[in-house]
Assembly symmetry: none
Homo-oligomer: 410 residues x 2
Amino acid sequence: MLPGKMVKTMIGFEHMKTISRVSASKMVLLVIDGVGGLPHPETGKTELETARKANLNRIARESLCGLIDPIGPGITPGSAPGHLALFGYDPVRYNVGRGVVEALGIDWDLKPDEIAARGNFCTVADNGIIIDRRAGRISTDMNTELCRLLDDITIDGTEISVRPVKEHRFVLILRGEDLFPELTDSDPQQAGLAPRTIEALSPQAERTAEIANEFVSQASSRLQHEPSANMLLLRGFSRRPTMPSLPEIYKLKPAAIATYPMYRGLARLVGMQVLPSGESITEQLDSLRRYYADYDFFFIHFKSTDARGEDGDFRAKVQAIEDFDDALPSLLSLDPEVLVITGDHSTPATLAGHSWHPVPFMLRSRWCRPDGVTEFSERACLAGGMGRFPAAEIMPLAMANAFKLDKFGA
Amino acid sequence: MLPGKMVKTMIGFEHMKTISRVSASKMVLLVIDGVGGLPHPETGKTELETARKANLNRIARESLCGLIDPIGPGITPGSAPGHLALFGYDPVRYNVGRGVVEALGIDWDLKPDEIAARGNFCTVADNGIIIDRRAGRISTDMNTELCRLLDDITIDGTEISVRPVKEHRFVLILRGEDLFPELTDSDPQQAGLAPRTIEALSPQAERTAEIANEFVSQASSRLQHEPSANMLLLRGFSRRPTMPSLPEIYKLKPAAIATYPMYRGLARLVGMQVLPSGESITEQLDSLRRYYADYDFFFIHFKSTDARGEDGDFRAKVQAIEDFDDALPSLLSLDPEVLVITGDHSTPATLAGHSWHPVPFMLRSRWCRPDGVTEFSERACLAGGMGRFPAAEIMPLAMANAFKLDKFGA
């Protein structure tokens, strides 16, 4: 017990490892990205309340429902902590740096000896002051060409990779011995200032700071005659976090079926096998059927609810929910012993971005003790048997319902 | 934050000690062991929902209700952590070892210089391989005789006690200076293997490991000609945990009325006086009346709901609940200032064992702010004023309702 505090009722991984066990049951975690919403000003109904969703509602009637806080009340999650919480990790303790998330987003399988940073091509004036932090949003093709120009820089035995993401965004990867990510950003995050010298935040990172500054200097020389992208900015230096994997903690054989690279990357971080996904939820569920016998835990990620929410397009987000609902019968016919449906955060169309609002949750199993909720929506799930709870508690609950946990204590 | 844990805001014992005070009010904690259940497949109703229980329902109408998680969502509690949480302790921090629980179960008043282990008599073949981990479940009489045969072994100044539990089960107690319980089990938990050498898990426990192995060796010689119980297995070496008592934390004068030794033992661990219990809930409540003036906190343990649940006998568990309900008027006529009725965990008859499901809770006092719940059951209590909450929060709440807590902070 910490002084003055009580550890909330969640047991640590060191105990979880001792009570988890293998069983034949299958667990499926369906993440509807950004599914939670806010009422439309005209109808007073959220996206979920507006959507026609007979399958989701039917599952709710057979489920234990609730509302999850991915991080905590009032805290808007990034995609990384939102998902890590769903996978059972304390999302504050196991924070993933900006550079790492960017590298995962291009399917880069980050190794322990690599440091990643998020990069922007930018435009600077003759006096070195930033005029445009995004270099006029150059095309991805131009970005690819510029990255190729920088990719063969090598400094003092440190290998360097520069890879395009999209428009002005790229990833810098430093690979070598004795590199440390405790570095300040060169990106001052606003125009009208000069790029900053990168500084070490710990004595051991001093050599890495020198290497990073030398890279900026050499890159700047190579870019100086470019019309708009004549400089670059770096931020979020980070290393792949050291964390126990789902196989270690829960003795699971887990697999991920996600159409976007970043979610595949997060899945790999926690020890999941990445399976072919195709490009739609129908193809994802086809892949689930094909590999169903080979794994006991499946993470399936549905992206377009979040994308349409970010667009601020209420009607399109409703449609995305309906498309998702239409695809469900293919999953339901597999009848997994434990089915969890929830989101990694809310993305209300009225806010056109991630938000702090809690997210509807349901867990269906033969042993879940249903609670009388008859609809999968924000308001309906509030009356569910889980009430409002931290997302990181989902995994132990799902494990219990799959008979994959022994009793704790004598 | 502890690794892999989430901290919730609840004040620690060091603060609780400063705000607790003595008052004339009486608190009664009635534990209906394993009371939570799951719906019967035919009726859709749980054991509590099925039982005729006019008294429990009447109390619910006057109470603050809720659902408790003894340890956390998904975690199935053993009896020890289930009860320690009800007594206000963090059940993960104050974990009680298997050997200690077994010693408590024979009413052994474990001292700080004693180490206890759970033992099995077993059968081994000539080559030392275990054939039967339970020695054909020998009779308790035979067990008692064998324990007597081993009870006078003394090794290097360490006193040894070997006491029968039931059938093939016994307790080994080592008593002496500089003994440490960080030891591996000799019991490999499956037949077809040889018993393991006990190993120290910390340098300080090395001498204790030698003593334990020497005990196994001498016991094995004495047992070698027994027809079935020709060897023994040991597991769960542990010491009585050091923990503050209820009188220290809450300034209470607490007493326990329990028919089973293990629950009396747990009560003694936290500083309760153990009172005569008789053998039924009626006799337990008679004892409560007799000693009512002498204590201000009473823990009353009702066992048969759990036993019938473990039997998988839905109907018999319903009957046990009805028997409990029938006994309540004798308690209600005492009209304690604070009455808490709950369980230490769920034991659904459909699962025939302890489970992870949360447990109905109610607290009646003149100051409890009733919440409109009209039935004591899993589904009804979900709508209660406490919602779903950790069992360790019950004690501060009960103390407040008994006017035994001062204001916190200026």
